[in-house]
Assembly symmetry: C3
């Protein structure tokens, strides 16, 4: 007589320890105390956020509305939503890793922005021994952690929060140096960060994932898909990223036409990407059905790819072309490239960041280089300040600027891959409490789940049950019939 | 001896083909390429988003903050959220059509805004052979597709994405002409679009739904309700619409007091509508329980109805009265009118857009006409520019303006119903891949669902199972007992 | 032979009547009509939202961008999102009370803002017999109902909507008086409302909950936890609160540096609170797992505690220290204090508002007092207007201001506890249709649930079923075997 039902598969017998009760609090506390000390030593308000603003106003003959706060704060809040809700919810698509997606995203973003304020501040806002901060620094800090959240997408579900903190700490550091070289040394323009944020972040994450390759990851295959409502949650992330991307690409552009134009270009590139994503998604599936993974991700590729050139005179049709191409490339990437990368190159890319940020980021860098090289005085005006050809760059001509842009792209790639190798090697040490192969993509490892978590377990249990019941009853019937 | 369990009802044997693998990509590609060409020919940046802004500033003695971007961009982003998250999530209430709600909403909005930029541009921003665009054009494009998303609400779950694209293409075209007549020819004011957006959109959608009437729609009755979490998802849509409606109604008002007043009036009308919606919902149900459908929809009716008059000197109490009435009418519409329309007039209105946009839109038009007719110089000031009585309208007096407003409402109705008849007839052709009657409201038709989609199917299966098990075991027992 | 399956436990046999079919509509209608009359008598547009703005501009030599609308509207919309989506979704964590959380939050907020406009208007915007309103009044009205929504958190799931309306009506009234005393009489500064909003709201709610103590609440223990997706919904609330808190604390600060600095300080305090919340959550749980309740709530404590001092020259490291401490205290509160309060002090605090708003609010008041007392002319500048030392306060010195701040905190506590005693006593009357002890935390009492609400009931039923099936089949088998 068979047992009526097999117990729920208990996953506590795994060999790896995922206990992070000391490591995680230790890192958080030590780091936060270090931040307080460093902020105490270095960080002060800038002249627009300091109480002496009233004197600045008089000295410079300004009014309150000239405070940079009013030029950038609405964009800052939109970027903030993209970082915390956008990236966080975009990654909730896995059936049982929504806590980890949105929760660890929250943790590492809050952790990273503090370090970013310091690192970027030392490079860009350091005056007389102090870092002077205002709203633009907050936006840049959000941008900086954005690159680390992109990298998180590659390793989603396969690493411990301690590893994520290390990865973010190193990522922010690398980003700040990378960005300094691209923006200040090479003098490339990169308003929306196609190069410094997306390309760097994507290849940083992919390289780490390559080093942390798990050959037996299919042991947790049961958890790698989505369920209906987790896909709807992910659409919250997608839409807030999509809607606010014009703010992302325009947030730190020049006041006036720069911000205005960047918003328009981004709006258009994103719209075109939606159409081609849907087209390719339908083309590559039986009966033309759409795949939620594509809709959730590839629709955003237009925003990535128009990042560098958003403030340029790309022209509205130029923005549409960029979005058109990236929707296609990104969706094809999900269909063909991601499986190839996993099988042949041993790169496991949970969220497909190569398709959403990697390739579109590179395209964005190239588009930026071409647009810059093609700039003419007729289009940009004799006094236009888009390329900031003043001071030591007063004699730069467009095709030289195009070269600078291309050099910037290479720097981002080098930092991404190089940094990824180093950080990946560190993260491979067996001390970080990462999950076993059959425990990946499972919130149970690092989260207290609701005690009677039936809404999910019922799903698994129910199927087992149906199979068992079928068998049991048939056996019963059989035994009755053949008695 | 009964089979232990009937298989999941497979719905693949339906006679209609819903294969859109060629149609959908073809429409998307052709359309997007056409857009690129038309944008290349016609669309350029306006003086505020062009790199020559620095010269404009000098010529007109402006500063960067005078750029329209800073007056309208925050409102634009709010409107953008309403269009993509608001409308998209509002329609996720069905238990098994959330992908279609939020996904197709995304598709047709991204599709429509491009065409809207062209159509509206030709009518309103055409200078020397070019359409010059800035942030106000983006807002207007969002408004324009808003009317098509309203229409989508009437046919939600009953049409294919190809039909939706055709419906949007025609809808945007009709909207642009309709709006040109109302705003530029008749010279009615309609800042929040009670007439041009809501009335037009609602009757356009309802007429199409009437033409596409499905007498056997009850074959998919099992899928017409909501489940607990789909109702919570829908509340995301409701709340973002409700919260940002003040931005919607004020987005394109005159700078200064116009935008300010429109936001206040809308805020108040919406607040009042919540109270009366709750009151009527409770009154019309057993034990005074509230109905989520009413809370999700009728609370928004105040925003619709105050659209036209939002920028007028409606007075705060006037806004409250408008919201008060519309909360009542809209909720009563859900209780009594929607079933009546379906049974008697053969209009199947999935989301009840007649109650949320149709009737409140008409009320909004009437409120606008009355407010305009009642305008006095004492209230509006001798120099007030609310009604823009300059140029050829310099001699218009208020009661004439009231007549113009009423005429505008009639135009919106005529375009809605007339356009709906034509477009509905086109959509009735059997070439669009629409679902069979027993396949409506089901994401499975157009979406790859999660492979082990138990979280939903368990619901249906489980019930079947309980019935079957009951029967089987009883039969088993019976056969044993009576052997 | 056992019945195959026990019916779903019907909960209709409870002795208490929860029928609110007359009470709820009556309160809503009477109240809304009263609002219309009072608005008609008292409320008008202020000079920035009135059509005479064009004359004001000329008289004061202003331009449109000087309209307060452009300084505050983006912050207003962020605050609006916090009130409706933030508070609403934060409370959706219960497995079966999401409708009540987000729906009643919606109702009482829409109800309260109207009364708040009047109450606060009489105290602060009353000129020649009229209350003149603009965008700042809308923000203040949102703030005011915020305190009532905090109080709702303490009684979530245990009261009827009618009780909530009464609680909000009294709460708004108390808040307005409380705020008038703190801001106008005592002349304390409280931009982010640590004292007037959070401290008052928390102790108002906790006192009411104490008076409404239910000794047999464990009868509905089955519904007190969360399910997986309800926790994800709650994270929507958490994140929108967290992201927009800088707007909350800066919304009504002085133009220019005041708003700018408040946003920076809040951003930093919130980031630090995330790190320490995660640390303590991990430390206090077996295997270092994180608890969603802590992540959802304690991460926000930094924003509460920096409210009063947000516009002060708190310095970036000061903001970090405030967040650091409050993350710790708040999380420890959830672990140790909430159970203690329930067992020993008979205070049942559903959402743990004492940990999120109560203690951090008091800390915020203290931080404000210390910061104010420590102010120097060197730091704030001779002309700085942070403390508004003009008119009759021209001679106030910092340490006196520190005393004023401390006095403000005491006023908030007295109003919270005193008002809570009175209102709690009123709410204890057996006429409000509140649920029975075994019916708490259940949407079924006040909401029409989806007819085939399996996604939830399946959870309960399924478990019963598994037990029964096990038994039945075993019995069947037994009877067969032992025949």
């Amino acid at each position: 007589m068979g047992t009526c039902m097999s117990g729920i598969c208990d996953s506590f017998g795994c060999s790896k320890t995922t206990n992070i009760r000391l490591k995680l609090p230790a890192v958080c506390f030590i780091w936060q105390i270090a931040m307080i000390i460093l902020f105490g030593v270095f960080i002060r308000y800038n002249e627009e956020s300091d109480a002496h603003w009233v004197e600045t106003k008089k000295a410079k003959n300004l009014t309150d509305i000239d405070n940079d706060f009013y030029f950038r704060y609405p964009s800052f809040q939109d970027v903030h939503v993209m970082i915390f809700v956008g990236f966080g919810f975009l990654m909730t698509f896995l059936k049982r890793y929504s806590f980890g997606a949105v929760g660890f995203n929250f943790l590492i973003a809050a952790f990273g922005i503090q370090w970013a304020l310091l690192m970027q501040g030392w490079f860009h806002s350091f005056h007389s021994g102090k870092i002077l901060i205002g709203v633009e620094n907050l936006i840049n800090a959000d941008f900086c952690v954005g690159s680390c959240l992109i990298a998180y997408g590659a390793v989603l579900g396969k690493v411990s929060p301690v590893q994520l903190l290390v990865m973010t700490l190193c990522g922010v550091t690398l980003f700040a140096v990378d960005e300094f070289i691209i923006i200040s040394v090479i003098h490339a323009r990169d308003a929306g960060g196609s190069m410094s944020i997306h390309t760097f972040g994507a290849y940083y994450g992919l390289t780490i994932s390559w080093i942390l390759y798990r050959p037996d990851l299919n042991q947790s295959k049961r958890l790698q898909g989505s369920v209906y409502h987790s896909d709807v949650f992910a659409m919250i992330g997608t839409l807030f990223l999509w809607m606010f991307w014009p703010s992302f690409n325009s947030a730190i552009c020049n006041h006036g036409d720069g911000q205005h134009r960047a918003a328009i270009n981004t709006y258009l590139a994103l719209a075109a990407a939606v159409l081609t994503t849907v087209a390719i998604s339908s083309l590559t599936k039986e009966k033309g059905k759409l795949d939620m993974v594509h809709i959730q991700n590839s629709t955003l590729a237009g925003g990535v790819a128009v990042g560098t050139a958003a403030e340029f005179m790309l022209m509205p049709y130029g923005a549409l072309i960029v979005g058109f191409c990236c929707g296609i490339i990104s969706t094809l990437g999900y269909v063909y490239l991601t499986p190839f990368l996993e099988k042949k190159l041993k790169i496991q890319d949970t969220c497909g960041i190569n398709n959403l940020h990697g390739m579109p980021g590179i395209i964005g860098g190239i588009v930026g280089a071409i647009s810059a090289a093609a700039a003419t005085e007729q289009v940009y005006g004799a006094e236009g300040d888009t390329f900031d050809f003043t001071g030591k760059f007063a004699k730069v001509v467009p095709h030289v600027q195009g070269g600078y842009q291309a050099a910037g792209l290479c720097v981002a790639l080098v930092f991404g891959v190089g940094g990824g190798v180093i950080v990946g090697t560190i993260l491979k040490l067996p001390i970080w409490g990462d999950p076993a192969d059959d425990n990946c993509f499972d919130d149970e490892v690092y989260w207290e789940l609701p005690e009677d978590e039936e809404s999910h377990s019922v799903v698994l249990e129910y199927n087992n049950h149906m199979r068992n019941r079928h068998q049991d009853v048939c056996e019963t019937n059989f035994s009755v019939a053949h008695r």
